[in-house]
Symmetry: none
Subunit: 199 residues, 4 copies
DNA sequence: AATGAATGAGACTTCATTCAT
DNA sequence: CATGAATGAAGTCTCATTCAT
């Protein structure tokens, strides 16, 4: 990937996150990237292709830790308790979001409008994640650390709590009243208690 | 509001929800509404004004039950337990979303891009909601039905769980494997357990 | 002429003078006149017709004193000297302009773009004026008060000097350095001296 | 300046002069220039900017001879008499108008509607012209070739006479009864006589 | 590989005019 | 007579994309 190409991607990521894909013009991207308009189309045949060059890998990166080959074998053994697992994953994903908030925004904003992105997200990725995480959760269930709910539901409840935390964090970033440490602990405590099997 | 005006709003709501505000052209809206394009601009001076005529009231409607004057006085007394309250609110908002999913999508999609909408959402509405709900939650805390967490955090945890349920429901609407009754009960059980004060 | 009609004309005169005919919209006129848009078209079938209802009489009014039936017979006798005549006409036309500057601006602005106005101005009016004024000037020439130049040229020289004075006056209306009395006297002195027959 | 850009300017000059700025559409200009409409807006962001790209330099060109650095020093010495000076300037400006009548028309037509043009005309240019010409006229006054009138008034009287001649010339261009040589001489004779100091 | 002038389809918007009320 | 909602043609301007250099 040439230097200009990198600058184009970087500029596009910023602008798409800022104004949305549809409201961003290729000429703005070119200007911010410091390249000629034509140069964009030398590397990406269409504006959509540029979006996909950003969004498709972003989907993968967002779910990266769950896709590692070692996830099933190695990590599974590593985490003795669900709490350990949850803390590890939350820490890892939050730190990722801090560094890649633009990618996250782009994926979330554009997912509803691009069936191909949805397909990727759903079929390819989500199935892998659920399958792998399913094994892990089954083990935690057997250990009496998770209730006997469908794995999909448990994942959803975890994800929504963490996403809620992430969004609130983003919105309150500059507010002095946001005690990040406490909010994160509250969220984790909530999830753990909510997922405690009833005796 | 004339007949044509209603048709314009209806068409715009559908298209904005479907393709997003920026990707929807006024000529498409006119065509779907069965009016001349000029007619749109007789009623709404700009496309943005048309969006606001839809989104601003939608923000209010989405939060309507929390804004009722009676909310504080009447409902507060009515709900003996937090569970009753949670069930009532969830049922009410989910049924609202079923009937107004387009409005919901528009607000969620456009909120990040329109500071005026954000302001409305934040300052005017959010403050009212939090203030009122705060009083209610304080009472539940005194009754030992909620943990001693900040009201903002409790609201966030409830909202994220319910929104996660709503989104999953929307995505899986046509899937036969989605057992709505069970998912909703699971979600409520999760929230209730997660918010049980530690003895 | 109904009340509304008068208000329409008045509003149109103001706006045409202010922004120009082409740049003024009928809806603006309607708004300023305090009538509905449709009302304008009940009285004037087209926007152009509204312009003509203003401009055509304005052309006549601008040249009014030269069109009076009495001009040839009565006035001719009245003015013993060219200076008397010049002073009378200048005073009369300047006071008219003060009261009807908008009409004047409209005629001047639109004359180049409307052949029908030009035709009116040229054929109908200009010929009458020149013919009548020609007789007067011939008499002054015979009296040795005007040089033996073509009447058209003399009229042109008088008109351009007076118009130059009128325009400068308009532009400097608010300037304190504009000594109107002196400027007018200078202009008249200039014309009179310029038109003194060479011994 | 690319070839297309030149064609755009040329077409715009013709059409603005012919129909007026407000009544000329950018699509007409594009058609006459033989370019796509979008091309106009690549070079001039708005229609107004296109007008200014024409009118602003035109204002300068119209007053060019009075702005030359050499005007004060060189020409002042060169012209022994006011008559020489007047004849030179008239010949120069008339020949300029013959070649640039469209520019002249545009400036005159649009000046009343564009405060920025007026400002340029007034502040920047007029002050320079008056200042320079003032020095020249003071010298002619000292030589007893001009009356003791304010320089502004003298300039106005000269300009209005010449402009009146130019306009009449333009209107009668095709008329066989227009004897240009005689009209010009009459005009100059009128100005010279009108500006003769009273003994 | 890179440029940026050129394109033309289509975006939003304005406007003179009509017509049912 | 008066209204003002409705129209659709036309206006200005934007944009993704192409192509000669």
């Amino acid at each position: 990937m040439t230097d200009k190409q990198a600058r184009i991607i970087e500029a596009a990521v910023q602008m798409f996150a800022e104004k949305g894909y549809a409201a961003t013009s290729t000429s703005e991207i070119a200007k911010r990237a410091g390249v000629a308009e034509g140069t964009i189309f030398r590397h990406y045949r269409t504006k959509k292709e540029l979006l996909m060059a950003i969004a498709a890998p972003a989907v993968v990166k967002l779910l990266a830790p769950f896709l590692l080959r070692e996830f099933r074998d190695v990590l599974q053994a590593e985490y003795a308790s669900f709490e350990q697992f949850l803390r590890a994953v939350v820490a890892n994903r939050i730190s990722f979001l801090d560094r890649n908030i633009s990618l996250f925004r782009i994926v979330v904003q554009e997912l509803p409008f691009h069936p191909d992105l949805q397909r990727q997200f759903r079929d390819i990725v989500l199935s892998q994640v659920l399958e792998r995480i399913g094994g892990l959760f089954d083990r935690f269930k057997a250990m009496g650390q998770l209730p006997d709910w469908p794995n999909g539901a448990i994942v959803r409840l975890c994800v929504s709590a963490v996403m809620g935390y992430a969004v609130a964090r983003m919105l309150n970033r500059s507010s002095p009243s946001w005690d990040d440490e406490r909010e994160r602990e509250t969220t984790i405590a909530f999830v753990l208690k909510g997922l405690t099997p009833s005796s």
